[in-house]
Symmetry: C2
Subunit: 521 residues, 2 copies
């Protein structure tokens, strides 16, 4: 087994190093800290499944949906009033959009922006040819390192934040990396946001489960970044799910409004299980997704023109036999590829994909479904990728072993995104001349000069002989992932945090918790 | 679990059915026999990693390799003489090719052709937008249904032929689906070719391990197809590996000559573990592959202009730490994508990919590596795909469970290749109108009309709840694959074979075996 690319960051090693130094070190053999890059800059093309005619057809159909059928903005009088003022035809809670209105509003949305981390070396770009991976989001359960499936706790939450911090191919600390079910619902977000800030210095997401929790997220971010910085820069991405089909509800609208007002980014994501929340066809699903995103994303511009917003897509299907969600199948891949094209035409950054699966264990089913999704994610050109590591059971469980396996695969995607090196060294004509017919390249000068960075090196793949593998105990990849995970958690050191900021955050959390009833809300 | 697409063929059901009837049935719910299509017709685009400039650069470099360094044709005076006559500069066994010679010779090679099966319904196209999947090739070991790794036997060989026959997403019976180690080396090919003909009616591959075994393969094919038919049509694809770097050896040249003379197809495949048999870079590897294929493929046209020939690529890397082969990593994917582009520019059908992995068990490592390879295989536009199912341990073992898991994934690729349906039904505007905001699509008319063919249905993925999965015994996918494999083998019925042909084949095999010494050669 090789272990360079997957060498984790630790706080100790990371501190005080410039990005250049970290990158140089990460690319050296036996190397050390941190990611070679804080995010992926894709040098490869995007893959497309629709031609111009197909794209125009879906755009026309989405316009028809917006105008004729409309989108509901529920339990939010302010939203309806804003739409009325903007020129939409509002009937009850149903908003009908004149052709072109949403696109006109979206002209103020940035096509690219920087998502700031408290450590500027960890800042990432959102949009263009940048890709940012973030961990699993929202699982109430974990599959722990003893192989037990149980409710997630705050300790699990912190562990996943630590692992994402250490993983060189994960660029964001994410958001609800699991639900800390041992903390009351109304207080949970405070511990979550604090944990992201305390245990990682990668960019994190805010709470979206209630407008006041979004306000708390913004307030805590301001303690870290300063008031003015937050109002002028994106320091949080926030997941705003549409209640598909064609509904935005009070909770999500409330959070979206808070974040947009504070110039923070909304990821407007139709949550689609095709066959239930959308038609059973790819083109029909794309039409509905486009309509929902046009409505939701342009709404953020009504709140604050220029607020960053993403075209989000969560695409899966249901089994038409059991109604269960399915992942890694061809149809959602086609949906995501198509949605990525539609997003690029709109000029919005795009979110989709990840390492999705329905399996209950990190077995070959989990891996096939995850790999099918992840390969698509990279080639579609997704800019922001939730659920990139640790997702199991359709998202119901965050799995430590799968987290480790997935982060290794993310490293492969990062290498893949570099594309083909056509430099003189890449062409390697000297090597071919030196070696000639019938010899081997192992010892030639070009190989010696390049072997340390030539190939992606997995920390988890066992490439040894069967005999060696037997001697080493016939381990499956999840056994190796388990051991690696334990060693990372043992080696973890928190990144430096200004004690004054830490104190202020803790005081804020304590104060807010004291103002709340103890019971679960 | 859903099980329509993965419903196996059986001989009984298959007999006497036209392709149209089989296709119609396969696309129906609960459906029956055979593949919906005997091969994949890709409606999706190919993915490309090189631009025009990059392609021209590699082509120029390959020309330089051919002219300046040359390719060795070893222990084959006839080959050297043919090259001399064709205008090459032959020094010892090293052939130097004047610029353009190979490409000029290749003008006679067909860009597409039909590979005939004894059942014409199973004929496949090789080239263009067709993709044909074939099983694992060449494994001396099997991982059997008891989970034991042992030498393969003729019974295993027959089992894999039967499984490939039954799998709707496998289009060819393949070749050495495993090495029947219980049969002497000099007689093995007779049993292998007979088994392909007897236990399947899908197109099969010939023996390449010695010229006389290639002659036996042709002779047996003639007993099935008739002399004239074989001389005028392709009934066998044959794997001709280059001995990379830049060598073709006596054995492979001998087999290639036999097949080309009889108008059978050669798959000229540089066998590359980058870092050992080629430079450690993608562009360098591509250059060498192109040079080797140009030399090997054009050689078949010296033997018989017009003989079908494929641009083959087997791309993997080695671990620069242990020297072990690695699979499913980014670099070989980039090599294969690039090679596919080079093949299309040459106008030759292309072979690469499959479900490659280094893992010793069908775990998540095996699946990630296989899926990374297979997704690339489809998007690269590979025309012929060896090792598409059952490959384990870098090809050392053919695995029953993995075979079943892989064939399920192949079905997904087949569905993916259909692309996006933009018909009126595909657009599903009626469904969106009928359902409207906040409702669901489960019962709407459009869903009812389309759900049976809407989504690929895996026979092996468990999409049920955790609780249901627990009740059913906490099975991993390999457990389900094991059970499915046993049920297929139990249900297997051989396709009809004219008793006179069967008798003639058996007599040929017996006669040839009697003429040989018993000992292993």
């Amino acid at each position: 087994m090789d272990d360079i690319s997957a060498e984790p960051s630790t706080g100790r090693r990371q501190r005080g190093e410039g990005r250049g130094a970290a990158a140089r070190r990460a690319s050296r053999s036996g190397g050390g800290a941190g990611p070679a890059m804080p995010y992926i800059t894709r040098k490869i093309r995007t893959y497309e499944v629709l031609d111009e005619e197909g794209l125009e057809l879906i755009e026309r159909n989405a316009d028809t949906v917006l105008e004729e059928i409309g989108i509901e903005f529920r339990d939010d009088a302010e939203a309806l009033e804003l739409w009325r003022e903007a020129g939409a035809d509002v009937k009850g809670e149903r908003v009908h959009f004149p052709k072109g209105l949403c696109r006109e509003l979206l002209k103020t949305a940035p096509s690219e922006f920087t998502w700031h981390a408290r450590n500027p070396e960890r800042n990432v770009r959102i949009g263009g040819n940048a890709t940012v991976f973030a961990p699993v989001y929202g699982s109430p359960f974990v599959r722990d390192l003893e192989g037990v499936r149980r409710y997630a706790t705050l300790e699990d939450f912190r562990n996943f934040v630590k692992l994402a911090y250490m993983a060189p191919s994960i660029h964001s600390s994410g958001g609800t990396v699991c639900e800390p079910v041992d903390i009351p619902v109304n207080k949970r977000h405070l511990d979550m946001v604090y944990s992201h800030i305390k245990y990682s210095d990668k960019p994190f997401m805010g709470s979206v489960t209630a407008p006041e929790r979004a306000e708390d997220s913004v307030a805590m971010a301001k303690l870290v970044f300063g008031d003015e910085f937050v109002e002028n820069n994106c320091v949080m991405l926030n997941l705003i799910n549409a209640n598909s089909p064609m509904v935005f509800d009070e909770t999500m609208l409330g959070a979206a409004k808070v974040y947009a007002r504070h110039n923070q980014a909304s990821v407007i994501s139709p949550f689609i299980l095709s066959g239930a929340m959308s038609p059973v066809t790819v083109a029909g699903t794309l039409t509905q997704i486009l309509a929902e995103v046009l409505a939701g994303a342009s709404f953020t511009q009504l709140i604050r023109p220029g607020a960053p917003v993403l075209f989000g897509t969560f695409a899966a299907s249901i089994s038409m036999q059991s109604g269960a969600p399915t992942f890694g199948t061809p149809e959602p891949a086609l949906v995501s590829y198509g949605a990525a094209q539609l997003a690029r035409r709109m000029g919005l950054p795009f979110r989709t994909g990840g390492s999705l699966c329905a399996s209950k264990v990190p077995d070959a089913q989990a891996a096939h479904e995850s790999a099918n999704t992840l390969n698509m994610t990279l080639l579609a050109g997704a800019n922001f990728v939730l659920h990139a590591a640790g997702w199991l059971e359709g998202g119901l469980a965050a799995c430590y072993e799968k987290f480790m396996i997935d982060q290794d695969q993310l490293g492969m995607m990062q290498k893949m995104a570099e594309g083909v090196d056509l430099s003189e060294s890449g062409q390697a004509m000297d090597a071919i001349r030196e070696v000639g017919p019938g010899a081997h390249y192992l010892g030639c000068a070009h190989t010696q000069a390049n072997f340390q960075t030539a190939f992606y090196r997995s920390a988890l793949a066992d490439n040894n002989s069967f005999e060696q593998w037997e001697i080493e105990g016939r381990k499956r990849i999840e056994d190796r992932a388990n051991a690696l995970c334990r060693s990372w958690l043992d080696a973890y050191e928190a990144p430096a945090l200004d004690p004054a900021i830490d104190e202020a955050l803790l005081a804020y959390v304590a104060d807010r918790k004291n103002s709340m009833p103890d019971a679960f809300s």
